[in-house]
Amino acid sequence: MPFNLLVLFCFAYVALLFGVAFFAERRAAIGKARWLRSPLIYTLSLSIYCTAWTFYGAVGSAARSGLEYLTIYLGPTLVFVGWWVLLRKLVRIGRQNQVTSIADLISSRYGKSNLLGAMVTMLAVMAATPYIALQLQSVTLSFGVFASQTPEVWGQATGAWVAGGLAVFTIIFGTRKLDAREQHHGIVTAIAVEAVVKLLALLAVGAFVVWGLAGGVAAVLDRIGTSPLAEWELQPGRWTGLIMASAMAVICLPRMFHVLVVENTDEAQLGPASWAFPAYLFAMSLFIVPIAVIGTDRMPPGANPDLFVLTLPLAEGQGALALLAFLGGFSSATSMVIVETIALATMVSNHMVVPLWLRLAPARAQPGDVRRLVLLSRRLAIMGVLALGYGYYRLSGGSSALAAMGLIAFVGVAQFMPVILGGIFWRGATRTGAALGLLTGGAVWVWALFLPSFGSVMPPEVMAAGPWGIGWLRPQALLGTAGMDPMVHALFWSLALNTGAFCLGSLLTFPGPVERMQGAAFVHVFDTGAVGPRAWGQGRADAEALLILAQRILGDDDALQLFEAEARAQGRTGYLPDPTPEVFARVERHLAGSIGAAAAHAMIADLTGRATVTVDDLMAMANETAAIIENQARLEAQQEELTRTARALRDANEKLTQLSVQKDAFLSQVSHELRTPMTSIRAFSDILAEGDVPPEMVAQSGRVIHEETIRLTRLLDDLLDLSVLEAGTVQLNLSQSNLSGLIDRALVAAGQVQPDRRFVITRDLASEQIFVRSDADRLVQVFINLIANARKYCDAAAPELRVMVRQRGGRVMVDFIDNGRGIAKEAQGLIFEKFARLTDQTRAGGAGLGLAICREVMANLGGAISYLPGQGGAAFRVVLPLRIDRMAAE
């Protein structure tokens, strides 16, 4: 097959994946991606466990070491069959704590420690580097197989092209937005497609080999019996080691943790996956031995068994089958690299860049800058990780067999296992212990397995005699244990020393307060239905500051939505809930979903001005038996209920008192507003009646009387309007109209208010193209009022008004945001009351009934108007239904 055609096929395939990912994102955005919740997609996404190493390398491994390749499938199978014990707990913890990565899980468990997060991240990046190199190598090799006829177009650049292409794809779909939970629906769907492709490819090649080449099952079994494979002997030590390493890797590999825990959309997916995933692995391993045996028979001696899947069909003249096999291998490699880099980039940005930035940050940061920083650092991290992988591939010469490179990664990430197991089953595990364990295990792994893998880095005399001749430090014979298999040796010593240091460190040190609470929450994750530990007592921070912080990280929309929901849960309207500890804890968890537990904790601690917990919290932790916890939870719930009721009563009472005062004030105000124009009219008409007046005074008197009569009429109109609206007896003229046109009308009409002020109006016309069925004139009346208010009261030197329109389900939101000083917090609740003009200084407008009328109009239109706090200026949000409900209208 011509090389160019192959490249074309690759592009077409990648374009297909783009399409799938894009389509899935779009469907998920409008909440119509139900397939994402199905166990099938979950299982298929787990199949990124099967990388190019499995796809190509398993056959090579079978040809070289017999059935040993099975261990790589047996480990995960054990873990999944026993999912009830470990995976269920991990997924529950991950979902409850909005865990974003394996580093986040460990950091979060051990007191939201950033040190641990950074350590895990570094270790993970190191372990992933050879593994990514392995994928690049396999794609490059498989290209090479096809390009052997046309070597001139084929060069060393292939690896670089593949790495670059993967970086682009991953950045586009992995870092487009910052999710509250780090989930990427487009990518999950795309890798599910790739999972199907690679399984089909391997099965097709297998079927071709068994029935096409060997002549049936019986013949194949015969051939296997007579092949060197039959003489293969099981090495118990190496088998146990490999099964253990792969069992740990299926949880600890950053990409596996990502699809297993972070991308999990429903805990119920685990049950079916517990048999479906092993079944997938079984199907993947079904034809490995036949392909290896037949390949060894038929291919010329010296052919690389790692590429039999590809070269066998090619040698037999089956171009189409070879192409399918190539796409299978390509899928295996790309899906692994994409998810691995996303997981690593999340870790790097959350545990290295953001904490560093928090420490060095300018105190006054602009809204949204944390999001930009996080996204930028993720994009850079994706490029960095791929560059590292490519560098390793070039450095190591791409010579070692595929399987060896994968095992290095397995043993590296296995170092997380003691810390995770200890973290979720043992309350006594501490941060110090975890750090010591990771440090020890990581060091042994680097010394005994990682560095020797480079070949040239370790001088032969160090390998043979140890550093400076210290024999018991020989990389492959620590403490004099020579003669062991290097992989088993490294696995044994790293895990043994890791676990030892972890336990010893944990026993000798005392956990900090946050650690104690997180420990309890993780270990007892199934016992408490509660929302998790209360880390925040009554802090000093107020809700508005918290909202501003949340907006910087989650974005305006999501933050407002979250706060509105919190406020509603407390029975309040608007966007500012009472800053209770529960609100703080929930907001922290949301932030943790974007930037990791440690950074979120630090930011909120910064806001509340304290980083520790109260004595009360510690007492609660100290004497907890099951009964006490249960009792306490019930009491707390009752108390919370009481507090909430009391708060509601207090609010209602406050409101009533205010209303009574306002009713008095209303009468007095009406009197004032009526008498003032009447005074002018009477005084000037008196003057006219007395006669003997200069002509210019006659003219002026006439003008004043005319003006003041109009003012009186307008006031009476407003009052009547208001009373009709309040009584709900208003007649609505419903019609279909374009929102953009309505805003145009309002802007023109409101332009007559203080026409000399130059106002910059910012609009997004595209988003305004929404047709609403409502009373157009009434809606325009509300818009005019808001725009005119901005023109009157916005005190910025260069006044600016932003009009933003968004559609959410069946509701449309129109925000009017100016850049003035905004409205003081204590006044925000009053502005919609009658005559609540905040200052008497500006007499330009009516009597202070404008916003009260707006509120009534919106209520009559089935919508609402509210003040949006924390927008940097006065900001009003008008919410209206797309189609007004006829029942509500009448």
Binding site: S668, T679, S680, D686, I687, E690, M697, V704, E708, D840
Partner: protein, 122 residues
């Protein structure tokens, strides 16, 4: 007799009408519209009579009145207070603060002229 009168009134049309009728009656009329600086303005101009609106931007007429009464130099200055609120509460408060005359808007021009003449007579 007539003399100098200072109007403290923020509603431009009412101020204009008052200025016209008082000038015609022989008064020398000064005008001030801001409540916050009214007290200082009264001290500076030293009028014979003050016409004071109750609701002013910056400060209430009641505060200004109390400020006047607290200063020995102006404790006896005749003050005519005007209000559009017209509640008994306001009248009582103004009288307690030592107002000379209290009138509710709208007023008859002749009434104002007569009141000021009566107040300015020693």
């Amino acid at each position: 007799m007539t003399g100098r009168v200072l109007l403290i009134e923020d509603e431009p049309n009412i101020a204009e009408a008052l200025r016209f009728i008082l000038q015609r009656d022989g008064w020398e009329v000064g005008l001030h519209t801001d409540g916050a600086t009214a007290l200082a303005e009264i001290m500076r101009q030293g009028p014979d009579v003050v016409v004071l609106d109750l609701m002013l931007p910056g400060a209430s007429g009641l505060d200004i009145l109390m400020g006047l009464r607290a200063d020995p130099a102006t404790a006896g200055l005749p003050v005519l207070m005007l209000t559009a609120k017209g509640q008994d509460r306001d009248r009582a408060a103004a009288e307690a603060a030592g107002v000379t005359r209290f009138m509710t808007k709208p007023f008859a021009n002749a009434e104002i002229v007569a009141a000021l003449r009566a107040m300015a007579r020693p």
